[in-house]
């Protein structure tokens, strides 16, 4: 019950403090630009006599993959920004005192904030990916059914980032927390590339370092799940889908399990961190 009150409060706060408006404008602007880009791009490739139908499919697939990757990046940043000061910021401002003195447990405050922000991210991810898939299929006539993995992978990754950032904010101030989480995120991102290089060079140490970064923060590995689906959609040979947008080795199914456990641990760590903290 109180969990829901806090979640609703968090949602309301995002709307009132114009976070939702700002994010809508930015993501809306990006989608508009993307649509224009796809339209002109597709006009060129569809009139190019040298391109076969299957080559066209591959290029359209690439465009969708790149767009989805960008949305994933924006969603991740949004998750970090939403949660970066969620606990420490409220303690520093003094707004936590009256709330935490109410008959509401600290776990409910943490989970309520997590849930409120997650609902917001669900709407953003759902709407923006749906628009993107629709735009691409309307312009190119190519409906990418497998692209629907992407919003789920994004949401899972965003949930993990939210939980990690909230956990950080029970112990660190907003700035320090932002630096730590964003660095972790960047390391995981680069780790994916290192993993690919390790695989390419057939070097197990480099490969394992890449894997280790996925365990440090499994956001990149989750994206790879969606990336692999998107790559299949374009019908490309796996050799053509390297680079930052996708992965040579789509993570195995138990990566999902690891990510799930990771999420629960991050939430537990956040709750414990807040419970021990003097306000």
């Amino acid at each position: 019950m109180n969990l829901w009150v806090i979640a609703e409060h968090t949602l309301r706060e995002a709307v009132r403090r114009r976070v939702v408006l700002a994010a809508t404008v930015v993501i809306g602007g990006f989608l508009a630009l993307y649509g224009v880009g796809v339209w002109f791009g597709y006009r060129d490739i569809s009139t190019d006599p040298d391109l076969t139908m299957s080559m066209q499919r591959v290029i359209v697939g690439f465009m969708l993959q790149g767009g989805m990757w960008s949305l994933n990046f924006v969603a991740s940043l949004l998750a970090i920004f939403l949660a970066v000061g969620s606990i420490s910021g409220e303690i520093d401002q003094g707004t936590m005192h009256a709330v935490a003195a109410r008959p509401v447990c600290r776990a409910q405050i943490v989970l309520g904030k997590f849930l409120g922000n997650l609902m917001l991210l669900t709407v953003f991810i759902g709407v923006s990916t749906a628009i993107m898939i629709a735009v691409v299929s309307i312009i190119t006539g190519q409906y990418a059914e497998r692209a629907w993995t992407a919003p789920f992978a994004m949401l899972f990754a965003a949930a993990i980032l939210l939980a990690v950032t909230i956990a950080g904010s029970t112990r660190l101030g907003s700035l320090a927390n932002g630096v730590v989480v964003f660095t972790l995120y960047a390391v995981a991102l680069v780790g994916g590339v290192i993993e690919q290089i390790g695989n390419f060079l057939d070097n197990p140490v480099t490969f394992d370092i890449g894997i280790a970064t996925s365990v440090l923060l499994p956001t990149r590995a989750l994206w790879d799940l969606a990336g692999a689906q998107l790559a299949q959609e374009s019908g490309a040979a796996s050799g053509m889908t390297g680079g930052p947008f996708s992965s040579l080795n789509p993570p195995s199914g138990w990566m999902l399990l690891v990510a799930g456990v990771y999420l629960l641990l991050a939430l537990a760590y956040a709750i414990r961190g807040f419970q021990r903290r003097d306000i």
Partner: protein, 303 residues
């Protein structure tokens, strides 16, 4: 009503090397207005935060109406105005109170009724639709008080509730506190505004450097007198014989300072000395205002 509203035993709290609270015992009876006084940094707010479970004690035990401090059951009994009185700036006044009503577990109808009553009580009914970001400092403190009283708690904890208020606001808060007492509600009032405490409190505890240096019924504490005497031969022996312990003495000049619980006791002391044949050259009685008491105790324990 045998249960204390707040009972603390052996309470301690350290923040790293800072010993904010160093062994406090408190007994706040139900239905009284209890003043908790002390200079800046004495540890008042820390004790309050422990009572509310915002801060975890390093040692000792605190109960609120029989429930361990910080438990949900304990927090259900308390309305709290924090000393910082900072609230979510993006909320409207009535929305803010409604949010706290929900957290306190009030149903919709009760909330609607109580929110209106509280806005009326603190004189902000005309600003109910305004965002808190448009409020002045004093208005923030008023809405904070409304928030504390919203759920009709049996115990109200106010940490310097008038620090931002104008004289009229202070008088209003005094009246509100008196009304709370009349309704049988216990008020724990943190303050260093001594006149305010003198006007509303039944009992006080004075805290300095994390320890309680005086506690008890306010009127008894204020009735205490300090008597400076200049006496003739045999004074020392006469004082000892009657078990009177001077707080300071300069026997060479015949000067002794005693404390007395009231005027009657001063009369008894002088009669006793005269009866023992001691010449009394000078009697100076200093009555305590709360301010004297406060400054003297703070100075004495700062040594």
């Amino acid at each position: 009503m045998d249960q204390a509203a707040i009972r603390a035993t052996g309470l301690r709290k350290s923040f790293g090397d800072t010993h904010a609270v160093r062994g406090i015992d408190l007994d706040v009876p139900q239905g009284e207005v209890f003043g908790f006084l002390g200079p800046n940094g004495a540890g008042k707010s820390t004790v309050v935060k422990i009572i509310l479970g915002l801060v975890q004690a390093s040692a000792g035990e605190v109960t609120v109406l029989g429930h361990p401090a910080g438990s949900l059951a304990a927090r259900r009994q308390i309305g709290f105005l924090p000393e910082t009185f900072r609230f979510h700036q993006w909320m409207h006044a009535s929305e803010f109170l409604d949010f706290h009503g929900r957290l306190a577990g009030l149903d919709r109808d009760t909330r609607r009724k109580r929110v209106d009553e509280m806005l009326e009580l603190v004189g902000l009914a005309h600003r109910r639709r305004d965002r808190l970001s448009t409020f002045s400092k004093g208005m923030h403190q008023r809405i904070g008080l409304a928030q504390a009283l919203l759920a009709e708690p049996p115990l109200v904890v106010l940490d310097e509730p008038t620090s931002a208020l104008d004289p009229i606001g202070r008088r209003d808060v005094r009246d509100i506190i008196r009304n709370l007492r009349a309704a049988g509600i216990t008020v724990f009032l943190n303050s260093h505004l001594l006149s305010e405490v003198e006007q509303v409190c039944d009992q006080v505890a004075i805290i300095n450097r994390g320890r309680i240096v005086a506690a008890g019924d306010l009127r008894e504490l204020l009735a205490a007198r300090e008597v400076e005497l200049r006496l003739g031969e045999g004074a020392e022996a006469a004082l000892r014989a009657s078990g009177l312990q001077p707080v300071s003495e300069q026997p060479a000049d015949g000067r002794y300072v005693l404390t007395a619980a009231g005027d009657e006791e001063i009369a008894r002391i002088t009669a006793h000395l005269a009866g023992a044949g001691v010449s009394i050259y000078e009697v100076q009685v200093r009555s305590n205002s709360l301010e004297d008491l406060f400054v003297r105790l703070a100075d004495a324990t700062d040594q």
